[in-house]
């Protein structure tokens, strides 16, 4: 009696024999492509994400920072430590630092004093600068590490003493601080001291403006859970900064990149699935005859099903394993390249990528080969006597579809499946109908044609089912390639446009009206001529006369924005680089205010509303006459509110400007010193490092997108090959017949050309229809532009379809053109 164990042995043995003879090759290749792309993409995106995260965490000094204007209750630290997280606390305040030069003359400078614990920072290291010798902190004598910018502002040497409040500290070295390390980074140079000495400064007291931070680091999931728990507290004095979202706009850009990567992997899997669908049709008659034979030899239903399923299952497993390992090897080969881009490169455990790859490979085989599997199982013994086999039933299509959905949800997450189901149903119906329609037209044409054209058409239409699959899959592959080319180009262009080379990276602010001319002159001396825009610090206090109560607002961001003073520009018109999305003509005598669209949505502000602002105790009303969108990540001067200047409203004005300084430019230090000396209070904020970081991330994401694009391109070519080889047997049979009837190479080539040109043309046509619909939907729904009929797209699609098929036709047919009928007969047996 056959058992599962014995059948497993037989299945293994038969599969191995078949593999040795090159059987199952196309199926195997398709599974390998699917599994390797999923593994590669998963490992690549995990590594890239983790490396970026680590880079962001290093810049932040932690994975998560809870920043508060009041001391953070100790129980949060205890809770975090119970969860296994590392913690560190710091206290930051702005104070005046004093030092004396060699002539005993006193020098003052506004600094950010940051008292840190010994384990600071939790992520990354403090970069020592070479300016001064470095001494580690110890709790015996107070030491200070100073920002490398401070020696330009104060006459400091390694023997200097710095007075902070009532505490005198020795200089322990200078450090380069990254953005995020200090809450007010850039406004004033930072001085780090050990937390144990903070009380001795005497600076903590009622009225002092202090920022408290609880820094956390640890396992990503725990951090995420803890961040969620903190968010739930809705404490207005808290700001929760996560390394996952160092910047909201950047996060959006990166989300697009991740989506592209996921889609690229899904595309590779679907493309591989299509090649399985085609290959399984190619193998179907062979499977049917072998199963019918086994049945004739006396194998029972259960044993047959088991043997066949085991063989397919083993094939899926081994090919997936091979594919996944190949994916990991490809990743390994790419690692040196990655290491150039990411510092540090976080090595992610390969297990989850390996498992996902194997799972996807197995699922992709079963979803796309299920129909052929069922059809083959129903092959009765009379199949051997040439009776037709039963067609698969509707429920098998459902199962196939179900497996496909499982595969997609495994790759993209359950929440996206609904959209994909709808897309798949609409897409496949559309594809099927188009293919069927095109074939009907071909059939009509065949009736009207003569000679070699008629033979060519009839050989194309010999197996309409197969041709439908071929046209659909080739069309889909062409469409996917066109879509990916377009999306990739668009993505890269958008990214490049986001942060051009001359992005402003240095801000000069807090310029009082009487300092404006002086600052402009100092800047002009350094060949810098930025526009200095007038602005005032103010707070939104009421909308249409109704005062805001910050505690009633749902989102912490809205609460924070209301509690803080905002920079409000005082300009006649918004800058040209802002896009006005809605505008009304001045409806009343009130002065105008233009509001950024995001903030308008957050507070429910509409056109025509009256906004009341508090500018240093003075309340003024303005009417909203326009809404604008602003690219915050562009680093240009952008404002939530832009109010109209009014002569009889004396606002507390100051000026702000920005400009680009090359990374290696030394002018920043001399400018800082000059401005500090000649225009006290004016701040120079250098964000070059932040911009550098963002540009680096963009380069990394661009690279990852391009790598995946190339991979999908390769996978797609394999599908096209499979699609052509699926009908090879029928084609060689035709060549044999034509040769026997006396046809020469010329006629055979003409007939072959008809078949390949038509197949490529039909697929190109289908791809063009899909691309036109997709670009139409994109322009209507996303870009809000008009539907554009693009003849270039149709031409490109048709030509690439025909060109591709002609090249593949040449590659796959040329050896048969040189063969005699007898050789062709032998070739037929080997296909």
């Amino acid at each position: 009696m056959p058992t599962l164990r014995s059948d497993l042995l037989i299945a293994h043995r038969w599969l191995w024999r078949a593999l040795k003879k090159g059987e199952w090759l196309w199926l195997m290749l398709a599974i390998i492509i699917a599994a390797s792309s999923v593994t590669l993409v998963k490992q690549l995106s995990e590594t890239v994400q983790q490396s970026m995260l680590r880079q962001a965490a290093n810049a932040l000094g932690a994975d998560l920072v809870l920043r508060s204007t009041r001391p953070v209750e100790n129980n949060w630290r205890t809770q975090a430590e119970k969860l296994g997280l590392q913690t560190s606390q710091s206290t930051t305040l702005v104070t005046m630092a004093l030092t004396q030069d060699a002539q005993q003359e006193a020098h003052f400078q506004l600094v950010q004093l940051k008292a840190v614990e010994n384990n600071f920072p939790l992520r990354g290291t403090l970069q020592q600068s070479d300016a001064l010798p470095f001494t580690p902190f110890n709790n015996a004598a107070p030491l200070a590490w100073i920002d490398e910018k401070l020696p330009a502002l104060l006459p400091l040497t390694q023997h200097s003493t710095l007075t902070l409040g009532t505490l005198n500290v020795k200089i322990g070295g200078s450090v380069r601080l990254q953005q995020g390390f200090s809450p007010m980074n850039g406004f004033a140079p930072t001085v780090l001291i050990p937390a144990a000495f903070l009380n001795q400064t005497g600076l903590l007291g009622p009225g002092s403006r202090v920022t408290y931070e609880l820094q956390l680091a640890g396992d990503a999931q725990t951090i995420k859970r803890f961040a969620a728990r903190l968010e739930q507290q809705h404490k207005p004095e808290w700001q929760i900064i996560s390394a996952t979202a160092p910047n909201e706009d950047l996060q959006k850009t990166l989300d697009t990149a991740w989506l592209f990567l996921d889609l690229a992997a899904l595309t590779a899997v679907l493309v591989a699935g299509l090649s399985i669908l085609i290959a399984s049709r190619f193998y179907l008659s062979r499977w049917q005859s072998s199963l019918a034979l086994l049945r004739a030899l006396g194998a029972g239903n259960v044993q047959l099903r088991r043997l066949f399923a085991l063989q397919l299952g083993l094939l899926a497993f081994w090919s997936s394993l091979l594919g996944s390992l190949l994916g990991l090897m490809l990743f390994k080969a790419l690692s040196p390249l990655l290491a150039d881009f990411f510092h540090p490169l976080v090595t992610v455990s390969p297990w989850s990528a390996l498992l996902l790859g194997i799972g996807s490979g197995i699922l992709v085989l079963w979803s796309f080969a299920w129909q052929a599997f069922q059809q083959a199982l129903h092959a009765s013994t009379t199949y051997l006597l040439k009776a037709p086999a039963a067609m698969p039933q509707g429920r098998h299509w459902l199962l196939s579809f179900g497996l496909l959905l499982l595969l997609i949800s495994l790759m993209l997450g359950v929440e996206r499946v609904l959209w994909i189901v709808a897309g798949l149903i609409v897409g496949s119906t559309l594809l099927y109908l188009s293919a069927a329609g095109l074939l009907r037209i071909m059939r009509l044409w065949q009736g009207q044609s003569r000679g070699w054209l008629r033979i060519g058409l009839s050989s194309l239409l010999k197996e309409p089912g197969l041709v439908k699959i071929q046209v659909i899959s080739l069309g889909l592959v062409l469409f996917i390639l066109m879509l990916m080319t377009f999306v990739r180009q668009d993505l890269l262009q958008t990214w490049q446009a986001t942060l051009p080379q001359d992005t402003p990276n240095t801000f000069v602010m807090n310029i009082q009206p009487d300092q404006k001319a002086q600052v402009a002159r100092i800047l002009a001396d350094n060949a810098l001529t930025p526009d200095l825009l007038p602005m005032a610090r103010g707070r939104l206090v009421a909308v249409n006369g109704t005062a805001f109560d910050p505690d009633t607002l749902d989102t912490p961001r809205a609460r924070r924005l209301l509690q803080r003073e905002a920079n409000i520009a005082v300009l006649d018109a918004p800058p040209a680089y802002n896009v006005i999305t809605a505008r009304i003509h001045r409806p009343s005598q009130l002065p105008e205010v233009s509001v950024e669209a995001g903030i308008a949505e957050l507070f429910g502000i509409q056109l025509g509303d009256t906004l009341s602002f508090n500018f240093s105790g003075q309340r003024w009303d303005y009417q909203v006459t326009s809404l604008r969108t602003v690219e915050w990540q562009s680093f240009r001067l952008n404002f939530f509110f832009i109010v109209e200047p009014v002569a009889d409203r004396p606002l507390p004005l100051s000026y702000i400007g920005n400009f680009h300084l090359p990374e290696s430019d030394g002018r920043a230090e001399s400018l800082t010193a000059k401005l500090a000396q000649q225009t006290p209070g004016v701040l120079l904020i250098d964000v070059r490092r932040v911009i550098g970081q963002i540009q680096e991330i963009m380069t990394q994401a661009t690279w990852a997108v391009s790598a995946l694009y190339g991979f999908t391109l390769l996978a797609s070519l394999v599908v096209v090959f499979t699609a052509i080889l699926a009908s090879q047997q029928g084609r060689v049979q035709s060549w044999l017949l034509l040769r026997t009837l006396g046809a020469g190479n010329r006629e055979i080539i003409k007939i072959g050309l008809v078949e390949f040109v038509l197949l490529g043309g039909l697929a190109g046509l289908l791809a063009a229809v899909l691309a036109q619909i997709a670009s139409g939907l994109l322009s209507q729904l996303v870009l809000k532009t008009d539907w554009i009929w693009s003849p270039g797209l149709w031409l490109m699609s048709l030509l690439s379809g025909i060109g591709l098929l002609l090249v593949i036709g040449l590659l796959t047919q040329q050896r048969y053109l040189r063969q005699s009928p007898q050789q062709l007969k032998r070739s037929l047996q080997q296909i």
Binding site: K21, R286, L294, G298, L307, S380
Partner: protein, 231 residues
């Protein structure tokens, strides 16, 4: 051991009109040939007798078991060790060597000494030297000999052959015919074959003609033997 067929109709509807009512009994170790024109239903009749197909009415007893009452799996079990089948178009697995094709049924039912038995069968059909060749590398006659070796390697009690020489030239056909009758004698196997070659049929102990869906006896060169035919 005998086989009996009373009015039979195969399950497939297109064959209903072909077999209108035939009765046939085959005794152990006999050789029976069924001849008839193309499309007369010979192959369908053979498939019914071998239990490859299930009749919608009538009775078929194969080796003492009523086939019409058996499920697909039960009929498969009957075929597994006691029935061999040879097809006109050989039906060899193209990706398996000659030896592997013969090994297939032995492995399927985990029979002992599979490889030795398969090699022995190949030897018997004179193809030991072609053991590791793929079907595509063998001539038509060689392929059919491999198919014959596969059919009798399990030592079946009855061997059905559907036009076993239909695709072969005259000389090769004669070699195959000789082989079949030798096996019929040496292995004590009952042989039921379908052919349109009257010369081939004449060498069997019985010859029947399928005409208009009915079986009619033809004169044979041998005595009627154990034939028991009732219409």
């Amino acid at each position: 051991m005998h086989q009996e067929i009373t009015p039979t109709k195969p399950a497939s509807s297109d064959a209903i009109a072909i077999l209108k009512g035939c009765s046939l009994t085959v005794q152990p170790h006999e050789s029976v040939a069924i001849i008839g024109r193309s499309g007369s239903g010979k192959s369908t009749l053979l498939a019914l007798m071998a239990g490859l197909e299930k009749p919608t009415s009538g009775h078929i007893r194969l080796l003492g078991q009523s086939l019409e009452a058996l499920s697909e799996d039960e009929r498969a079990r009957v075929r597994a060790r006691q029935v061999g089948f040879i097809f006109q178009n050989f039906q060899l697995m193209p990706s398996m060597t000659a030896l592997e094709n013969i090994l297939m049924p032995l492995e399927l039912f985990q029979m002992d000494n599979a490889k030795d038995r398969a090699l022995e069968a190949l030897q018997q059909v004179g193809l030991a030297h072609r053991a590791h060749h793929l079907p595509g590398e063998l001539s038509g006659g060689e392929q059919q000999r491999v198919a014959i070796a596969r059919a009798f390697v399990t030592r079946p009690k009855i061997l059905f052959a559907d036009e076993p020489t239909g695709n072969l030239d005259e000389e090769t056909a004669q070699q195959i015919q000789q082989l079949l009758f030798e096996l019929n004698r040496s292995e004590q196997t009952t042989l039921v074959l379908v052919t349109h070659d009257r010369e081939f049929a004449r060498q069997c102990s019985h010859t029947l003609q399928l005409l208009h869906g009915q079986l009619q006896p033809l004169a044979t060169t041998r005595e009627a033997g154990h034939a028991n035919l009732a219409l």
